[in-house]
Symmetry: C2
Subunit: 933 residues, 2 copies
């Protein structure tokens, strides 16, 4: 962006008659990354007719000007106009804010050409040419002057328009808007009292005088009076009459555009976005066309294909004798575009041809704005059309089949995130009911059900056949049963990677987190949502995609996976280089993940294997006072867990080939398996108060004592992960026996099986060495007892910063690493995901962070650690497998980063698999080669 500096090279941009201009072959892309071409242009040419430009000249004509030129040149009926170059802007500043000599002669010549094309005259009282004046830099830039419409209007040309349109009120309304906008946009920099607000005051005063409530209540006479008052006010403030000379209006507006290039907001924006300040802005001057000039005029918006489902037909709507804003405002109901065929077959045919031409030219589905002025069709704008995920996939596949685009283009064009939509039910809200509360989108999809305030009642309600929405302050592993019994989950606290959100994505439960408005009254069993009180059992709907809660039952529609989806994913996998695995904890999830294209399980969490009806045995193990009772409790769990693994191994087979299954040994702190400290405190205090101090009380107090003993100030940084395995070696031994035992059992049934045992929360290589020793012995003993050898691997998660920093040592003890970027991010940022929900919104709002690092890998900080780890690990162990199993494994930007630093695979929840596969393919296509080190 910074290379185009003719001023710097040739001195004020001049060298005899020439400028040197550097353009890249495709100026739409960042010029820093592409070779440059220099061309010489005539120095004193400041003005280009649209027909003289092309889309590659964004540097010279700005983005908007280049695009208007392109459409003009491919023969579209674009309202004629011209562009004053960005170079002119730079000359203006270089000359001490003076327009270059000869500029207005060039403008006059261009205007003449436009007048000839339109048959109208700029300032002509009978058939006046009105124009819009717009800024247009290389990059779209908020903070700069946007648009002045209807320039050229004055007391005389106004009469011409009235005569032509036959609508006096409309014309005076346009005039009063022009007077206000021109004053505000063009001149309020010199005269602050010309700001829009001041004109609105005058209008308010007049409305009061006329007894009008709204603008639309004021008739043509009233607006005419208003225009007169505006002009008086203008003169009072500025000391001169409102400029009525159209040419003077144009000069003032052009200079205003140039001046807006250097206003504070624009400079701040460029600094923040690292855009060079010497690019300059162009000015686009274009003929105004009107769709409300009678019944042979009209306006509309159309897509070249169906944006909702992707079908290949024109999709849009129009209104005759109307302006663009009428379509948007919904004052009259627009007609489908197909209707135009009956109404005006010639125009329709022309439009269809243009639509087809545009799609062929841009090789993508287009969103087209058009206006018909007195039977003549004009294209005002075209751009790539926004579409649903379903449509995106169908269009891409169709266009490949049509030969319009390559598979590579098809894969590059569909946004990876869009694929998730294809897998979730959706909430339908045709009546546009307003949400009663909003939170964070955590698990996409819609759900309708009866409110349950805790997991027990969710399970109980679900058992009676009701659909349930679980509403909680925050969920914890104990809520898993309740969450699985529910159609949707709504929590007051927690962010997109809170427990609720993780479970939501893992199990595909539509979920809203961090909905601060939720106020639960546990005594009354009610929820207050922004003042509306819902009793437990009342029905609500949640849209997990939008993060919106509704106070009634809306309906849902199931996920639609068309055949095109499969075809598209085949395209995807031809480009992908990164492996893709699933985070799956049960046989059902495992089966689903194979269906969605997983090449293995990258993370099988074993926590749930300690939950449910196993809680008594788990609590026995925790509360055990000696080794013998602890071992006895573990012995109860062993066959149950072994059976769990058998189910998973059997599900992870594709075409007879066993896929690798990475199993993480127990991770959470033990107090998560015990009752909550707060509940026990309240219960025991109540029992004491009531004098109930018998055996039940003693038992509760014993539990309270143990909970207190296990209580941690910062559980995330406490006794969990490998630390548990070192503190209570029995657990890791039991789990290893269960994994290897299950693998042996499955193998004896003739099934191919490849377990990979993964140790969580390693910070020191010595932790790994110790646990590895214990584990290998158990594995050896188990295989000896079963009489069969299984192929298993041994590795660790990298989720503590120190593990990444000492990867060179750890990689000598591990066959694979898997980045646990959830914890790695939390520790590297010193930020707990559950607690950060309170202040992260403030951080995002104040732009202290641009993207929530728990959603997308922070490449600068966390990513630097990952890169250190990858480089050091590969240096000592070139064959090491490197994966990621944090939630980031399903985030497209993060997948791209993983591809770039050279990971072997990403692992994500089953529903994110298509997203991850597509993101991986796009990363490979975008040419960012994985590092060889």
């Amino acid at each position: 962006m910074k290379d185009r500096r003719p001023s710097a090279i040739l001195g004020n941009g001049r060298c005899g008659r020439y400028f040197a201009v550097c353009v890249s072959p495709d100026s739409a892309t960042d010029s820093v990354t592409f070779p440059k071409f220099w061309r010489l242009i005539v120095a004193n040419k400041h003005v280009y007719l649209f027909a003289e430009g092309k889309k590659e000249w964004r540097d010279l004509l700005g983005g908007k000007g280049a695009n208007l030129a392109e459409m003009t040149n491919i023969g579209l009926p674009v309202p004629p106009g011209f562009t004053i170059t960005t170079e002119t802007c730079n000359e203006y500043y270089a000359n001490g804010k003076q327009m270059p000599a000869g500029l207005w002669d060039e403008v006059a010549a261009a205007l003449k050409n436009v007048e000839q094309q339109t048959g109208k005259g700029f300032g002509d009282a009978k058939n006046p040419l009105l124009v819009s004046v717009r800024s247009g830099a290389k990059f779209s830039m908020p903070g700069m002057m946007d648009t002045v419409l209807n320039l050229g209007l004055n007391d005389e040309t106004l009469q011409g328009i009235i005569a032509l349109s036959g609508n006096e009120r409309f014309v005076y309304d346009s005039y009063r808007r022009f007077l206000m906008m021109f004053s505000d946009i063009v001149l309020s920099g010199d005269f602050p009292k010309l700001k829009k607000d001041e004109f609105e005051h005058i209008f308010d005063h007049l409305k009061h005088e006329l007894g009008a409530k709204q603008d639309t209540d004021v008739d043509a006479a009233g607006l005419k009076k208003l225009c007169a008052q505006y002009k008086v006010y203008f003169k009072d403030v500025a000391g001169y009459d409102f400029p009525t000379d159209p040419m003077q209006q144009m000069k003032l507006a052009t200079e205003a555009v140039f001046r807006s290039w250097m206003n504070d907001r624009a400079i701040i924006y460029r600094n923040r976005e690292k855009i060079a300040h010497d690019l300059g802005t162009a000015v686009n001057i274009q003929t105004m066309v009107f769709g409300n000039m009678g019944n042979d005029s009209g306006t509309g918006v159309a897509f070249t294909r169906n944006a909702a489902n992707g079908e290949n037909h024109i999709f849009g709507e129009y209104l005759m004798n109307a302006q663009g804003e009428d379509v948007v405002a919904g004052v009259r109901t627009p007609e489908p575009v197909a209707q135009l065929e009956a109404e005006n077959p010639a125009i329709y045919k022309q439009f269809i041809t243009i639509a087809h031409q545009l799609e062929q030219h841009y090789k993508d589905m287009q969103d087209i704005e058009f206006t018909i002025e007195k039977g003549r069709l004009f294209i005002l704008q075209c751009r790539s059309g926004k579409r649903t995920g379903v449509a995106a996939v169908k269009i891409a596949v169709d266009q490949v089949n049509e030969g319009l685009i390559t598979k590579e283009q098809a894969v590059s064009r569909v946004p990876a995130e869009a694929l998730e939509q294809l897998l979730n039910p959706r909430l339908i809200n045709p009546e546009k009911v307003s949400p009663v509360a909003k939170g964070m989108s955590a698990g996409p999809g819609g759900a309708v059900g009866h409110i349950a305030l805790d997991s027990e009642s969710a399970i109980a309600m679900a058992a009676t056949g009701k659909d349930v929405i679980l509403v909680r302050k925050l969920t914890n592993p104990d809520d898993l049963g309740g969450m699985l019994a529910s159609k949707g989950v709504l929590t007051k606290e927690g962010g997109k990677t809170s427990h609720a959100a993780l479970v939501a994505r893992q199990y595909g439960i539509p979920t809203i987190c961090g909905c601060g408005a939720v106020q639960i009254n546990e005594i009354d069993r009610t929820v207050n949502l922004n003042g509306t009180i819902f009793a437990e059992g009342d029905v609500i709907s949640i849209d997990g995609t939008l993060g919106e809660v509704y106070d009634r039952a809306l309906s849902t529609e199931p996920a639609r996976v068309t055949g095109d989806f499969g075809t598209f994913m085949e395209f995807v996998d031809t480009f992908r280089k990164l492996g893709v695995r699933a985070n799956a904890d049960t046989p059902e999830q495992a089966a689903q993940s194979v269906e969605f294209g997983a090449e293995g399980i990258g993370l099988c969490r074993t926590e749930h294997m300690f939950m449910g009806d196993r809680v008594p045995a788990v609590q026995d193990m925790i509360l055990a006072e000696d080794e013998a009772s602890r071992d006895a409790a573990l012995a109860v769990l062993l066959p149950l867990q072994r059976n769990d693994f058998v189910g998973i191994f059997k599900a992870m087979v594709k075409d007879g080939k066993g896929l690798p299954v990475t199993i993480r040994l127990i991770d959470p702190p033990l107090h998560e398996f015990l009752p909550s400290l707060e509940e026990l405190l309240v219960e025991t205090t109540e029992m004491r108060c009531k004098g109930e101090t018998g055996a039940a009380y003693a038992e509760k107090m014993r539990m309270l004592g143990k909970v207190r003993e296990l209580h941690e100030y910062n559980p995330m940084l406490g006794l969990r992960g490998v630390r548990l395995s070192i503190y209570f070696p029995g657990i890791v031994k039991m789990q290893t026996a269960a994994i290897i035992g299950a693998a042996c059992e499955v193998k004896k049934q003739g099934i191919d099986v490849h377990p990979e045992i993964m140790i969580p929360l390693i910070g020191l290589v010595t932790e790994l060495t110790l646990v590895k020793g214990q584990l290998e012995q158990v594995a050896k003993e188990t295989m000896a007892a079963e009489g069969v050898e299984v192929d298993y691997k041994f590795g660790t998660m990298i989720e503590i910063p120190r593990a990444a920093l000492t990867a060179g040592a750890i990689a000598q003890e591990a066959e694979f690493f898997s980045f646990g970027t959830n914890d790695l991010t939390q520790m590297t940022f010193g930020l707990s995901r559950d607690d950060a929900a309170k202040f992260l919104p403030v951080y995002l709002e104040k732009k202290i962070i641009k993207v929530d690092p728990t959603e997308s890998i922070d490449t600068v900080g966390v990513g630097r650690l990952m890169k250190i780890c990858v480089d050091d690990a590969k240096a000592v162990n070139p064959k090491i497998k490197l994966g990621i199993c944090g939630e980031h494994g399903g985030d497209p930007d993060s997948v791209k980063f993983c591809h770039e630093i050279g990971l072997t695979y990403v692992s994500c929840s089953p529903k994110r698999l298509p997203v991850a596969r597509l993101a991986a393919a796009q990363a490979a296509i975008s040419g960012s080669a994985p590092q060889d080190k």
Copy 2:
């Protein structure tokens, strides 16, 4: 260590008659870091008389052999002997475990020399020469064979010793020990049933038979019988007679030493310590001497100076007609060495001369073991004597004044840690009362006082003039008042860097943490310490240095700082390159730190400025429902905090020059200023049960609600530090106004002042930019209002891993960085210091970690992050000041690391200042130059 491989170079260690041996100029140091010298030695010389060696030949003779040679060569009466070289060991292995040809001829020649020197004969029945056989590698190595004493004993030589000593029982006791030790150490590798235990069984059986309870109850006849039984047992097991030929004994023992070089324990040890396996071990064979050969014999231990206070006189004790173990066992009371002058003036004079000679030779205070055998003095061992901190300082200063050592040697020789002893009162326990419980030493020093179970009662008790020991489960910032009111603190939980330990060191309070035995019964107001019940108010004593609790009042003695201490610190500062600052929060601490040599305050925490009588205003601020009430509460705090800073600034002046004061803005989460959730839960439940649901209940419930709202799952990773300043901008503005206002006020009084404002918990440069903007505006406004400009700096803590990883960006916004290594360590390790107290002991015990990383910087992990940060920061901002203010700033190893990575200063608690200054000087002397980058 790995470069010395003549075997590898010359083939089995031989090349004609020569070996090539690589030695470093001072073999005591790691040869990897020093240039090597090669020398050729005669290949077939395997045996060196002590007189032929020197202390530099540790490679060839082992550490022990080289030292015996040195003492012999400076003319000390060392019992004669010789060393079989380490090379011989390597040859033994290279030749397939065969001794080199000619070895025993060399040994015979050396033995002959020894016999000549001693006038005794090896195997001579009348005047037998007995020898000890010891292993001796270059580095002291557990796991190898240690010592066989009295080798040469058999049924004949035994009679000669009996005749010479006149003590038949002693000789048979020696003989039965020799039979057992020789069997166990030399031969049990071949015959496991020759282990010591088996011999003990035989002895136990005999004692039972003889009705003897203890070994000492068995008379000479009994022991004689035992020796006979041992020999029978030996033959039963080995199938041959116990070797009675002294030469055979020597051959077997020598081979046993060589074989112990490659036993499992030795190999594991070398692997762990990264010692090369090809160094080999030497064998030392030395004449036995006996101090119990009659009244002209004796034995003793002496220091060349007083090891307790450093005074320059011989300090030690001896016993005539005794063995070394008699002195140690305390069977008879030894005499002070001075007594020897009267008893045997010639020997005394000789000993004094030797002692002086040894100190002059080794240039350090020596700890000497000696034996007098039949009127002849022998020196058995000498080594640098252990001494107290007080003695270390006095001896160093005296030796400099005596011209014995240089200042550099004096500074290098005193262990930095030892200085802390000079500043603390000490507990006196002359009657050796046993401790009733043990915990972790957190704050050194002794304290005696009445037990208080919470801060309120501690304060109340102290107010009545009592000395108090505060006993808590764990302390938190609310306990500060109670801790300050106490003479000592004892907690059940928390490690060396827990809140209690931090306060302990900061305020010099003797403290024991993590004393698991503490069981507090809050209902009975008692403490159970390992079964002993103490009521609140009972007196205990704690020794914070040893971590021991006593059940009664012991006495204490105050810190002694002699004039030598000041002199020594002057020496120290001539070498030191690293700056040293203090962590000080009050004017008193500031004044103390200047006295202890601080060059500024590196960390002034402002938390306590929100405590005490300010709590109501702080709670008002937290509970405020709108900005206005929050601002009102802050307005109450402003003048109070400003006054706090005035006091600190005034104290930080030395010789009229204001020292820099780094002030950290508020850091802890706000809920630390509110009542505890648990207490409120119990209180409100009780009130509800009792029907007390009036206004007081409502107020409590409101507080409970706020506490719940502020409650965090992982407060360390939550809303604290700079996040608070962003969430509640009022606090940082108030604190800045207080700091700059105070600085202006002080400056107007003519006092030089240099505040440095430090933002905690930065993870993103954008946090710093935002807060810096707010702060600079307040500073500008405050200075304008005061009408004076002050010089202030703006910087940040580096305590979140991401801050270190993105230091290149952050350093552009900061004038200084200060490493907060407490939090940096916790986050890099994913380890909360309060919770880790549970499992860190297991980690230390299982050698998973060698040093607690909260005590000494983990240079591999945390240190790597620090180095990345330092390098990146200096690259963009070469003038940036870099400090450390975590507790590690007072840890000598950490100070050395800080010096090496090029920090500007370390900051530590006032009492650690001398330690830090000395460690910094030692780092500078040891030649590890700070990095230039």
